[in-house]
Amino acid sequence: MSVPDRRSPVPSTVILASAGTGKTFQLTGRFIRLLAMGVPPGAILATTFTRKAAGEILGRVLTRLASAARDEKACDALAHAIELPLDRAHAARLLRAVIDELPRIAVMTIDAFFARLVAAYALELDLPPGWRIGDAVELGELVDRALLRCLDAMPEAVRADLLRELHEGGYGREIVPTLLKVRQDATTAWRESRGDEAVWSQIQALHAPMDRAQYERALGDLLEMPLAQTKAGKDHAGWVKARAKLLEVARSQDWPAVLKSTLIGAVLSGEYYKQAVPAAALSVLRAFGEHASAVLTARLAMRNRAYCRAAGEIDRAVAFEKLARGVVEFDDLPRRLLERPFEGDLDHLYYRLDARLEHVLLDEFQDTSLDQFALLKPLLEEILADQEATKSGLPRSVFVVGDVKQSLYQWRGASPEILGTLAQTLPGLGEPRTLSESWRSSAVVLDTVNRALTDVASNPALLDSDGRAGAGVEAGRRWDERFPQHVARKGLRGSAVLSVANSKAAPDLVAAAVHRASAIRARSEHASIAVLVRTRKLIPWLVRDLLAAGLDASQEGGNPLTDTPAVSAFVSMLHLADQPGDTAAWLHVSSTPWARALGVFSGTYSAHPSEARRASEAVRVGLACEGAAGLLGRLLRECAGETDVASLRRLEQLSQILDRAEAAGPRSARELVRFIRETPVEAPSAARVRVMTIHQSKGLEFDAVILPELGAGLGKLRGPMVVRDGARGPVRAVSLPGNAELRDWHEPLRAMYDSARAQEIGGELCVLYVALTRARHALEMIVPPDGATGKSTASSAAMILRYALAPDAGASPGAELWRHEDSDPIWTDEVEAPGDVGPSPVEVSPSQWAQASGVRAAVASPPSAHERSDGPEPILPSGSRLRGTAGHRLMELVEWLDAAQPEEREARDIVRALGLDDGQARELLDRWREWIADEQIRVTLSAHGCAERLASLARLTGAHLSLSLRREWMFATRDAQGRIIRGQIDRIVIARDAGGEVVAAEIVDYKTDPAPNTSVDGHGQTTYREWLQGRIETYRSQMDAYRRAASRVLRLAPERIGVRLLMLGAHPGERSVDV
């Protein structure tokens, strides 16, 4: 018997996996291993960040199990990967288990996991109980409303002060945009600082400003300050000029200009015009520098505090609006959950989830935000602390995988440092394992990556523009700590080239990319090519030019549909619907085929409003009657021939998103416009040249990658800077960046700036890394040429690459700067031809429709009694409906009035069951007694009278007819078109002759409409007589329908069927009407 292994067979672990090293493979392998060891699928939580990625993980688990179940070799490979014996039958059983548990399997986005928690605690969190995730458009509108609400709620003086402070003490015109900017820039910082104004007040003036007298004296000192001398012993002319300038701005108290003054700058460097600043001058100048910086710091401090207050006010107002509308954003979920801490209460959580989480697998961990981690941490700690074996015999475990170098989402709160320091935070996880063997890329590509991104700290491109080692170098240093040398696992051929565009202008960058793509395509028909850009702006343009160059190109990851001219003109048309006076929109529409399709266009644009107005109305009518997608479809039928294939495809997508937008009901033209402009829609195609942003390319790979947009500067800050205690600790200070001159005079501010910028640049290095590592075989890097002044001193990806790969070369337009020495153009031979794309579709034409028998069942109901020639009837005064129902019920008690009186007791029961109060009940019963005493009604409802009428209808006067009475008779029959007609008739008497043949029938319908109060002889009042006539006319068509229906059911000619209205509200003597 062997000694049992004390180590857990599934130890908790962290894996740092560089690009292409098989992260998903590791994670899915772990998942399957857990299954194979008997862990129930529902006890495993696996999270990632996009629904697509979550789908891929579960998909991989399923396919790996499925192929193992089908194929011996695959089964062996899987057994090897999970380091457990496995046979095909076992694999099949595991697959079965996963499928059976599909609804309980928690392979999901981390947002979805939190949403599940929130649902379980719906009544306990400060969220609307029926919350839903709002779409971008409604959130946008909601924020707009919240800003106004927030302004409205503030006391006037506070409001004015706050806005003035946001405008740096001035009276800026923009109010709402200013607040919007605060919201965009500062909300995260405000939340992280828990709204603590003290945190926003950390930046304070380092010196006290001078008072008026001191300042006057200082101005005097400045006038008399010793200047540097020429050899001839005269004051240096440059100095003289500079002092005059400084005096001017100092007198006018233009503080930024004071700090910008060259002389003040000289204080910091200690020299001016290569001459040392005389000591006496130094102290005079320093006084000005310190004073100006003190004043400006005070302004900055005021603005910081205003930002904090405004961000808080806005956040509260937005939260209020969200609550009122039942809308949340994904970000809200962890925040609300954090308000109800779960530590120590995890059993409760498992109870609510109805699942005890035994194993947690966290993917893309570098994208985790602090809030998310704060929620996950107690769970992870609990698992790591609880090492008792579970039911499956295994202790619980945690598995984390990620790559700090691929952290692209810091701008929206991801904190890669969590991953970087995870081993310290959760010691139970042990030291991370690093994967750096790439299964994806060729050695040439990886070598290029290694060269470009090793020792980044020494890359001159990252020096500050003044040549100092600042934020860029700091970012490089941190990067270098995390960057392992990448090794190729597969012996692929590859190539890597650094070349120069003709200019830095967008058209030239696009042209260069198109040129490279064409060259690759010329050598390989099948190679997949990606053109990766940093911003969306170039995408439509790249696609257009690639297509024009004969390449099969598509954009990916979704631009709004307005990239297509027909869609953008459709948007103008929607805009015109609401703004008939918008001649710009009309000009746009009338320049396109839409105008003709609308049927209102004369063919010549005219600024005269009438035509635009007619078009506008046509669109509004279309929107109201057909919905946006319906309108689009109709117009498109008129002008599809005037689009091209790609455009028509985009228009079909437009139709789909419009239907989606209007699924719950129509939306205003304005909302639709916003929705179309803001909804990204992928243009899917099998195109082999794909254009997308680097962010969108994450997780994808291509044979060749072209990077045309590398020239942008690095390290631009947006919004306030945040300083924490340690990498992930509480926020210690927040401040806006201030300007460069002020930072020179304010060391703490400068330090904050450098650290914020280092982080920003770190993020941009990640973007570059991700871009480079998408390539399997070939990398084409395109950089802008040098400007007139030679090499740029600004940091950019382009400069990083140039210094790393071709440090000495000058970039002249169109040149090739560098080519990897092992570049092998015939890498193209290794490109796999795309597999066959499956069977091609079979077309079915609607004209093949052949009516199948027997299944149609259109049902027509008899026309309602509410129809009139001039529109629907108004609703009657309250109370009458109930009285109407009661009246009917009571009358239905009547069988034959000449045979027996209906039972009073039953009548009282009916009235009581209807819940009428005593007074109403008494009144109603009185009336009923009056009705059944009414002579005319008695005749109508008497067996005798009825028999006479029926005999006459049957033209069988004198013959004996047997009558059968049905009350609330439900009929069903077919009308002339074969539709089923059904309905209910209050009372019908069917007469049969001696032979049992139906010979006549009489229908009676009770109407309880109250007569108008004729004692009020008001002008314009309907008179009683008009009313009665009107009623009868109104009911006539309904009665005709009853007659027709009865005629069919009874197989009786219509003229043998009598129809009577009993107008119970009419005057006595006018109540029984033969129709």
Binding site: R51, L62, L65, S67, A92, L95, R96, L123, L125, P128, P129, D144, L148, R159, G170, G172, R173, V176, D254, A324, Y351, D354, A506, T535, R536, G557, S572, D578, G581, D582, T583, A585, L587, S590, A624, R637, A640, T643, D644, L648, Q656, A663, A664, H695, S845, P846, W849, A852, V855, A857, D870, P872, I875, S878, R889, G915, W969, A972, T973, I980
Partner: protein
């Protein structure tokens, strides 16, 4: 006494409905007089309304065939069955709205501390309380279906030790709310429907007498109707859509036995051929319709089980795309279409929204509805199109109160008065039913304004909506429990949930009624009589139907209360699927790989009810599309794209060029031309104007105008000669407030109020400077000056009229003249920077100030060069309090500028308009930017890459993909 329930098995040889009808005729004849089929005392329960209609049709056919006089049976779905059995149908019931409002009230009346363990953040408005009420009512309904009150749940849960300790208190609090709500209803002599059933049951009531109750294809029944059926004296028959051989899989009611259906019926599983995996719902929907048509072309009757109702619209669209309005067949949604899509309902809804908001935006929204605009215009006897008036108004005013609009725009006054009348009439505290009638009557009255002139089709649509809303007017009672605006909002949102029958547009079809493919719900599909069935959207999460998550009804609580669990629903849906597959001649099952937004989907477990190789293969097929050999079906396209995209326009060649020549130019036009000849052309020649909706505050123009006009008022007033800063400041402030009061007096926008305050502050700051200037001997001699005879610029022998207005002309102590322009931008650049480009060879980019010398020629002594400059009224007090920014140009400069102006005139005369130059900012003028299209794009991209202003936050929208 109750008889045992008789189960009759209909078999799987053919779709079961005809057999069911046959069986019912035989049963019915037992109760009918000779020559009749009298089913008046028969109650038939079916799973859906289409099954009801078809069964009725079949009964009519059979009665006809045998010459029997048919009295129709009562046909029901399981929902109303209980009330029918209890005879409660007529009792006035608290309908949903009233009940909701009373529960909300019960929550609000519970004190916060008491409520806290259940609802941690108790609501403080009725609207928010209603949200919590909805959650509780859901539990209330489900529990009542099983004969339980919350108090009963408390009792039962108390006996379950493994529940966490906070569970019981939550239920106890909920029970308190429940009792309070139902007591309130009771006090109004109204019944809560669920509560009424429980009461009736405990009273042993069983009112309505039927001879026969038939369950047809009912697969599950909650506990309460079971008890009611068992207690009923009628004969009860269950017609089961399965062969007798499977009898053991059904319980005594003929419903699915969960235990027996834990495994599928061997041989009745979806085959590989029948399963089709498609990309997204749109593709799937097209395939579904094509497959249905193909079935029909083979002579099979066909229906679609729209398992995912989100596929129905794409199916309709696919047919429309393929065959247009003349398609021989249409897709009909059995569930109906949301009333929200009906134009007349939109009218009602926009009207109510406006009554609630009563602002300019809601008025605009109301008027964009064609019926509303026409009817209101008619009612208020408006001459002009009110929307056009609003357009004009939007350019000048920001969110004014309507009363103010009415005062200032006489043409809108009657309209606003009419709406105000409606508002006072409707929006007052009154019971729901009165509120509903009042709103609907107002809409009906307005519709009647248009009745005779609108087509029949419109009338038909209005009638259908009015009937539906009329039927949905809440029950009568005398309490008005909610503030009127909230009540109206609740009412309309409740109405929004209504559905109307999905009828074709008969009027438009001119009698030619197309065939229909019925798109059914999951529950009713099994019983459908069609020979072929297309199951659309069979994804996990749809089928098996998940037990809805509920914060009180946790899985453990469900188990403890014996409520249906996932296992029950899986069994039921497995049975339904078997019933769908077994009797059909053809079945097509469709599942998509992604949803409409691109997120991954999984096929229903029920499609993977196999073991071993079939399962593995099917999974592989789904996950790896390349392994899928299924043939996609598409509909032929009638829409064909052409060779070229004619929507790709050349913005420099609009639909029609104006051949009007430019004979006069404003001094400011030159800047526009120099910036962008194309935009000059659009704005000045074609006179194109963009209107930006939803303005929340003054834009630069409006703000500037306010400041200008205040200064103008001051310069024309008695204080113009003052050299006292405080006096000037007071005068300026008075003026700006007066003007603002006139223009924006009642604005609803708090932002505008701040802006007015800021404008006043800026002017106050200017006062110091003005006082100093006056003290230096400068006097204001003209304001808003323009020449009496138009000025002209002679160019190549022909004059070009130059127009414009000079803000202010000052005369200095020595008689010198200064021509000055007010600038109220946030930052004001000196003229040299605004008029000339930077660099070694500066070029003119603006000519406004130099052209003033042409404009003001008549004022100037010959040869005199006036001082030209700006008076800055900027955001921040200028560092030296110097508000005057002078250009300092000499004669040569000015002559040079005039030459540049001449060159502009020449180019304008040559109609050089195609160059875009600097593009507009898309965020300010999105329509113009869209019109400029690629031209704009190219320019904007260039401009951006040069400024290096990249969007660092790229990937923003992709980010939310989780």
């Amino acid at each position: 006494m109750a008889l045992p329930i008789h189960r009759q098995f209909l078999g799987w040889d053919a779709p079961p409905l005809p057999a069911a009808a046959q069986a019912l005729v035989e049963l019915g004849l037992e109760y009918s007089p000779r020559g009749e089929l009298d089913l008046a005392r028969t109650l038939i329960v079916l799973p859906g309304s289409r099954a009801s209609r078809l069964l009725l049709a079949e009964l009519v056919r059979l009665a006809d065939e045998r010459g029997l006089l048919l009295s129709a049976p009562r046909l029901l779905t399981p929902g109303p069955l209980q009330d029918a059995l209890l005879g409660l149908a007529d009792r006035p019931r608290a309908d949903a709205l009233l009940r909701l409002s009373i529960w909300a009230d019960a929550i609000l009346r519970t004190d916060r501390a008491t409520l806290a363990p259940l609802i941690a953040h108790p609501p403080d408005t009725h609207a928010r309380a209603a949200e919590f009420a909805r959650v509780l009512i859901r539990a209330h309904s489900e529990l009542a279906g099983h004969g339980l009150r919350f108090r009963d749940a408390v009792d039962r849960l108390g006996a379950v030790p493994e529940l966490p300790p906070d569970e019981l208190p939550r239920w106890t609090i909920a029970a308190g709310v429940q009792e309070r709500a139902c007591a309130t209803l009771g006090a109004m002599s109204l019944a809560d429907p669920e509560w009424a059933r429980l009461d009736a049951l405990s009273r042993g009531a069983c009112a309505r007498a039927y001879d026969l109750v038939a369950l047809v294809g009912i697969v599950d029944l909650p506990a309460l109707p079971r008890r009611l059926l068992s207690a009923n004296s009628a004969r009860i028959v269950s017609l089961v859509a399965a062969p007798a051989g499977e009898a053991h899989r059904f319980d005594e009611f003929g419903c699915v036995s969960a235990r027996a259906w834990a495994t599928p019926v061997p041989g009745v599983r979806p085959s590989d051929d029948s399963i089709v995996f498609t990309g997204n719902p749109a593709e799937g929907a097209e395939h579904a319709v094509a497959a249905a048509i193909r079935c029909a072309s083979r002579g099979l009757s066909v229906a679609i089980a729209a398992v995912d109702s989100g596929w129905i619209t794409p199916m309709k669209r696919a047919l429309e795309r393929s065959a247009g309005p003349s398609a021989p067949v249409r897709v009909r949604s059995a569930a109906g279409v949301p009333i929200a899509h009906e134009p007349f309902f939109q009218f009602v809804s926009a009207l109510s929204a406006h009554l609630i908001e009563s602002g300019l935006e809601s008025l605009r929204a109301l008027l964009t509805h064609p019926d509303a605009a026409d009817a209101l215009a008619r009612r208020a006897m408006l001459a002009a199109d009110p929307l056009a008036t609003l357009d004009r108004l939007t350019r000048r005013e920001v969110a004014p109160e309507l009363s103010d609009v009415a005062r200032r725009h006489a043409e809108l006054a009657p309209l606003i008065a009419e709406l105000t009348r409606l508002r006072t009439d409707i929006l007052r505290p009154q019971p729901f039913h009165r509120l509903a009638s009042a709103l609907l009557n107002a809409a009906i009255e307005l519709a009647r304004e248009l009745w005779t002139e609108r087509p029949r089709r419109w009338q038909e649509q209005v009638r259908v909506v009015v009937d539906a809303l009329r039927a949905a007017i809440p029950a009568e009672c005398d309490v008005a429990p909610v503030p009127p605006a909230e009540a109206l909002a609740l009412l309309v949102s409740e109405w929004r949930g209504l559905a109307l029958p999905d009828e074709p547009d008969y009027a438009a079809l001119g009698g030619e009624v197309p065939d229909e493919i019925e798109a059914l719900g999951w529950l009713e599909s099994a019983l459908d009589p069609s020979e072929a069935l297309v199951l659309a959207g069979v994804s996990e999460g749809r089928v098996p139907t998940p037990v809805p998550a509920h914060p009180l009804l946790t899985p453990a609580v469900r188990r403890a209360l014996a409520l249906p669990t996932d296992a029950d629903l899986v069994a039921r849906d497995r049975a339904l699927l078997a019933q769908m597959l077994a009797p059909r001649r053809e079945v097509v099952i469709l599942a998509a790989r992604r949803d409409a937004e691109g997120a991954p989907l999984w096929p229903s477990r029920l499609l993977l009810d196999d073991d071993g190789p079939t399962l593995a293969e099917r999974v592989t097929r789904f996950v790896e599309p390349r392994a899928d050999r299924g043939v996609p079906l598409v509909l032929t396209r009638s829409l064909k794209a052409g060779a070229a995209d004619r929507f790709r326009i050349d913005p420099a060649r609009p639909a029609a060029e104006s051949d009007e020549s430019v004979t006069s130019m404003r001094v400011t036009d030159f800047r526009l031309y120099l910036e962008s000849p194309l935009r000059f052309y659009l704005a000045r020649v074609l006179k194109v104007e963009e209107i930006v909706p939803g303005v929340r505050e003054l834009d630069a123009l409006a703000f500037g105008t306010l400041v200008h006009d205040a200064l103008k008022g001051f310069s024309a007033g008695p204080d113009r000669a003052s050299d006292r800063a405080d006096q000037i400041a007071a005068a300026l402030e008075r003026e700006v407030r007066r003007l603002a009061g006139e223009r924006y007096g009642t604005t609803r926008s708090p932002a505008v109020r701040v802006q007015i305050e800021f404008a006043a502050q800026r002017l106050r700051e200017l006062a110091d400077w003005q006082a100093r200037r006056r003290a230096q001997g400068w006097e204001i001699i003209e304001t808003e000056w323009s020449p009496r005879t138009p000025a002209a610029l002679e160019v190549d022998g022909a004059p070009m009229t130059i127009t414009g207005r000079i803000d202010r002309i000052d005369r200095g102590p020595d008689g010198q003249i200064a021509i000055l322009d007010y600038k109220s931008g946030n930052e004001v650049q000196p003229p040299a920077e605004t008029h000339l480009t930077k660099g070694n060879a500066p070029a003119w980019m603006d000519l406004q100030l130099p052209l003033y010398t042409v404009l003001a020629r008549e004022l100037l002594p010959p040869g005199a060069i006036p001082a030209l400059g700006y008076i800055a009224v900027p955001r921040q007090r200028p560092a030296d309090s110097e508000h005057l920014l002078l250009a300092g140009w000499g004669a040569k400069h000015i002559e040079d500028a005039i030459d540049a102006a001449r060159e502009v005139v020449r180019r304008v005369r040559r109609r050089e308009f195609t160059e875009l130059g600097r593009p507009v900012r898309a965020e300010y003028q999105p329509i113009i930017a869209a019109y400029l299209g690629e031209k704009f794009l190219a320019q904007a991209a260039t401009a951006d890459s040069e400024s290096g202003d990249d969007a660092v936050a790229e990937g923003g929208t992709e980010g939310g993909a989780s």
